[in-house]
């Protein structure tokens, strides 16, 4: 998952353990286990003002693929299933939303049977029917949703829909009965991750009359607590209460507090901070500029919320072209980078922590180890990273025979990423390379570094978890299936494909269905094993910083969608 531009890069390969472990008994949990407190009408009302540098493109929930708007969709759109409103790990639970309960699985896992809740209306007053459900699934293909081919290609009839989106029919794949409100989803094969896939915004239910193309800036009627009143990507996005909304599941779609949510665009990050300081806005979307961090941490400490993320900043190295087709060169980079220095560039030790392991701390399968720190080797790792080893890095570069070679570092053009690139350039030059920094627009950098045509040697990028499963990191980022040469969608940026490693990951995924503990232990071993090959250099694990105005209360943080905007209170 990317923080801004791409929310879920891939669910393919995400182990079933996440979904299967989370769905059981998740429908009726109390606030004490991390869910939301009961709605308090005394705090309802007012307007929440959000500020951002830029809008995030189409408002169509089947098209948009950004964290910026997925954060809003949680309060406005609903699928048959949804992620739970709750703090911390509770937010990873999949709960029934428009469906009355979690699906009944039959036919060896290939058939899912739901019952649609009755009495729910769209924000235009029309009742939600099973016909809308069927049409919504067909619309995924008709509008060529970014995940149509990866998340929903297992539905019977999806192959034909992918081939001819305009005439998509899922008569066999999504069978509905208007009399009983039953919905049967038929799959071509069991899919352990289907529960999670049905809970993300691309699977929300829209009116059957929704256009069979990207709705763009025209709001599509919602089912949730809020609806979109207006959207101008150059100016603002306004959400108001859905007049037809009545809370049906406090876990899936609780009532919100503000009467209106206004998202203002075109505000620079530093102006965003000033606006929140002056109570002219409630929340800053963009990362806080580095020279304002001390100010807000000192003068506005009570308004700052820092939450851990299971994520990493890392440097994929292209294992298929020089100089990083040499394992010693890749190991040299791992030894050379001063992870504490990179943490400083990111904003300091309160906002990030140095790591070497591929699986982040507090993540299934994570093991505290670092094979690339002073005094350690991949075979005899230390417990944690302590300092770089430049001398060993220089020796490895010399031994690799790659000294003096040109290395291009591709980074995103925002301030922090550029600074990371300049630092990395300095490090690479110091160990014997001739490095150049290539900052390119953040809108394209993530796809640019994936495409082998661009011959990217090393880059700086980030990965944020989709689900708490080790495969979401190791299998997605380093699996052979994730490497597609000459494609913008080749998330295995290192181009690392090790058949033996792949087989071991498959074994770990299978083991996860029956023995998660043993599987996580195996994932931990695989983490250490793959880092001996050093296809990437992991730098640090970041934290999420939210800065809210002094009059804003009831902050809650979801690990899935970040802050719950609709739960903020101004009264």
């Amino acid at each position: 998952m990317r923080r801004r531009s791409i929310v879920l890069n891939s669910l393919i390969g995400v182990a079933a353990l996440a979904a299967s472990a989370l769905i059981g008994g998740a429908s009726s949990q109390a606030a004490s286990d991390g869910g939301m407190a009961p709605f308090d009408p005394a705090h309802a009302g007012g307007t929440i003002k959000l500020v951002a540098n830029a809008a995030a493109g189409s408002l169509d929930p089947k098209i948009n693929y950004t964290g910026q708007y997925w954060e809003l969709y949680q309060a406005s759109y609903d699928g048959l299933l949804g992620f739970r409103y709750g703090d911390g790990k509770a937010s990873f639970q999949v709960v029934p939303d428009l469906a009355t309960a979690l699906p009944v699985m039959s036919n060896g896992g290939k058939t899912l049977t739901f019952t649609l809740r009755s009495g729910i209306k769209f924000s235009n007053g029309q009742p939600v029917t099973v016909a809308d459900v069927k049409a919504s699934f067909e619309r995924i293909f008709k509008v060529s949703s970014p995940t149509a081919g990866s998340f929903y290609n297992g539905i019977v009839g999806a192959t034909a829909c992918l081939a001819k989106p305009a005439t998509c029919k899922l008569d066999q794949g999504v069978v509905v009965d208007a009399k009983t409100n039953k919905i049967v989803i038929n799959l071509t094969a069991p899919d352990e991750t289907i529960i999670s896939k049905l809970a993300v915004p691309h699977a929300v239910i829209n009116p059957a009359s929704s256009p069979a193309k990207d709705a763009g800036t025209t709001p599509i009627p919602t089912t949730g607590a809020y609806m979109f009143k207006s959207y101008d990507p150059n100016k603002s996005l306004i959400m108001v209460r859905n007049p037809y909304f009545k809370e049906w599941s406090h876990d899936a779609q609780p009532s919100g507090y503000p009467d209106q949510i206004e998202y203002q665009f075109g505000v620079t990050p530093t102006a965003q901070v000033t606006a929140v300081e002056n109570n002219q806005a409630n929340w800053v979307y963009d990362p806080i500029p580095s020279d304002r961090l001390n100010e807000i941490g000192t003068k506005y400490a009570t308004q700052v919320h820092v939450n851990p993320l299971t994520a990493m900043w890392y440097l994929p190295m292209n294992v298929n072209i020089a100089p990083f087709n040499n394992v010693k060169a890749r190991q040299a980079v791992n030894y050379a980078i001063d992870r504490a220095a990179m943490v400083k560039i990111f904003g300091g030790s309160q906002l990030a922590a140095p790591v070497c392991s591929f699986l982040p701390p507090n993540f299934p399968g994570h093991v505290d180890y670092c094979g690339y720190t002073k005094g350690a080797t991949p075979d005899k790792p230390a417990k944690a990273w302590s300092a770089p080893d430049l001398e060993l890095a220089k020796k490895l570069v010399k031994d690799s025979g790659t000294a003096g070679q040109a290395v291009g570092i591709v980074v995103s053009d925002d301030d922090v990423n550029k600074q990371m690139g300049v630092y990395l350039q300095s490090v690479l030059n110091s160990i014997g390379y001739k490095a150049t920094v290539k900052p390119i627009s953040g809108n394209i950098q993530f796809t640019y570094i994936q495409n082998t045509k661009n011959k990217v040697q090393i880059s700086v990028t980030q990965w944020y978890q989709d689900y708490p499963a080790a495969s979401d990191f190791l299998n997605v980022l380093l699996g052979c299936a994730s490497f597609t040469p000459n494609s913008d969608s080749s998330i295995n940026m290192a181009g690392y494909c090790n058949k033996s490693f792949d087989a071991q990951m498959s074994k770990a995924m299978s083991l996860g269905l029956t023995d998660p503990t043993a599987a996580n232990k195996l994932w931990g071993q695989l983490d250490q094993q793959v880092m001996k090959d050093a296809p990437v250099a992991v730098a640090f694990t970041p934290k999420q910083l939210d800065f809210i105005s002094s009059g804003t209360k009831n902050y809650h943080f979801s690990l899935q969608y970040k802050m719950f905007v609709d739960q903020l209170q101004t009264k």
């Binding site: 961090l293 807000i296 300091g348 030790s349 053009d413 630092y423 350039q425």
Partner: protein
């Protein structure tokens, strides 16, 4: 000087000597040249300052570096210890020339040392681009104006094409394309990080601004009696150009030189500020302002200092250009001396 003395001086000295004498007496010229000389001198001494006075390498990141302030060892990048402890702030100006005189940037590098190195690069690129621009513009302007006909038409349309683009838009477009992959023209291969690229790009975009007035002047001179006389006695084209045309347009060209160099320097700073000019770890005043942008609230000097140097240099060049124009213009000189 009386009118009589002035007239004697005019008849006894060459125009060049008169112009130089006038420039020496012109306060604008003296002040602007002094400022320029100072800036050029300290910029050329950048390695001396960095290695022997500040003892720093301004091209390497120094995120863990320390320095001495008031007898104490302090980190160059200091993590906040107040409140929530968020953020890391570079050291501010120590006003001590032996280290971090103007403070550090986000990479822990000495801003003063980078400012001096940046001056070298900005002035080098500005002056080189300016000279390339003047030479090519002179060539195009003289050929187009003297030959007229289809040659003039082709060259003039070429200038029109360049002229049609807003200068910064053209410079940015060329920079974005060329800085990504470098320049490959037959056997000529210029790498993406080479200074030759911004020099060439900036030099080219200003050619029409100089070539068109030169062409117009040559067109006018070509019809003057002394040129017709030269043609009448059978003088070669090259003789006419070098003996009759060029001496009459050189004063105008000389006036252009400082002004175009100032423009080129400003353009270089703008491109570097946009990260499409001088590439890291090299510095120019534009790149340092860019670095300072992220530190505007906590360390404003990182951005202000190169901005001041740009203002001083551009103002001095323009002031000197005015003085040169006045010195080379007999009418202005006569009015001024009378």
């Amino acid at each position: 000087m009386s009118l009589k003395e002035n007239s004697e001086a005019i008849f006894s000295e060459s125009p060049g000597k008169i112009a130089l004498r006038t420039l020496r007496k012109d306060k604008r010229s003296v002040i602007s040249l002094s400022i320029l000389g100072f800036i050029i001198a300290i910029s050329l001494l950048a390695p001396v300052y960095a290695h022997f006075i500040a003892h720093t390498n301004p091209f390497n990141s120094s995120l863990d570096a320390t320095t001495h302030v008031g007898g104490k060892v302090v980190p160059v990048l200091e993590a906040s210890t107040t409140g929530l402890g968020l953020g890391v702030t570079p050291i501010g100006p120590t006003w001590n020339p032996t280290g971090y005189f103007l403070g550090a940037d986000g990479q822990g590098r000495d801003v003063m040392a980078r400012l001096l190195y940046g001056g070298r690069n900005t002035l080098l690129i500005g002056a080189s681009a300016g000279i390339i621009c003047i030479v090519l513009a002179l060539l195009i302007g003289v050929i187009a104006g003297y030959r007229k006909g289809w040659i003039d038409s082709i060259l003039s349309r070429l200038l029109d094409v360049i002229w049609a683009f807003p200068v910064y838009l053209l410079a940015i477009s060329l920079s974005v394309v060329l800085l990504t992959s470098g320049l490959k023209l037959g056997f000529i291969h210029v790498g993406p990080g080479s200074f030759a690229l911004p020099i060439l790009i900036i030099g080219i975009v200003y050619i029409p601004y100089v070539a068109r007035p030169i062409r117009a002047q040559v067109l006018s001179l070509r019809e003057r009696e002394f040129v017709r006389a030269a043609v009448g006695i059978g003088a070669k084209d090259s003789t006419i150009i070098f003996r009759e045309i060029l001496p009459n347009i050189i004063p105008s060209v000389l006036v252009f030189v400082p002004i175009i160099i100032a423009l080129c320097m400003l353009t270089e700073s703008a491109l570097s500020f946009l990260s499409i000019g001088v590439q890291p770890p090299q510095a120019s005043w534009g790149t340092i302002i860019n670095d300072g942008l992220a530190l505007l609230y906590t360390r404003p000097w990182v951005g202000i200092a190169p901005g001041l140097f740009i203002v001083l240099t551009a103002a001095s060049l323009n002031l000197y250009g005015d003085a040169v124009r006045d010195a080379l213009d007999p009418k202005t000189r006569s009015r001024g001396d009378a």
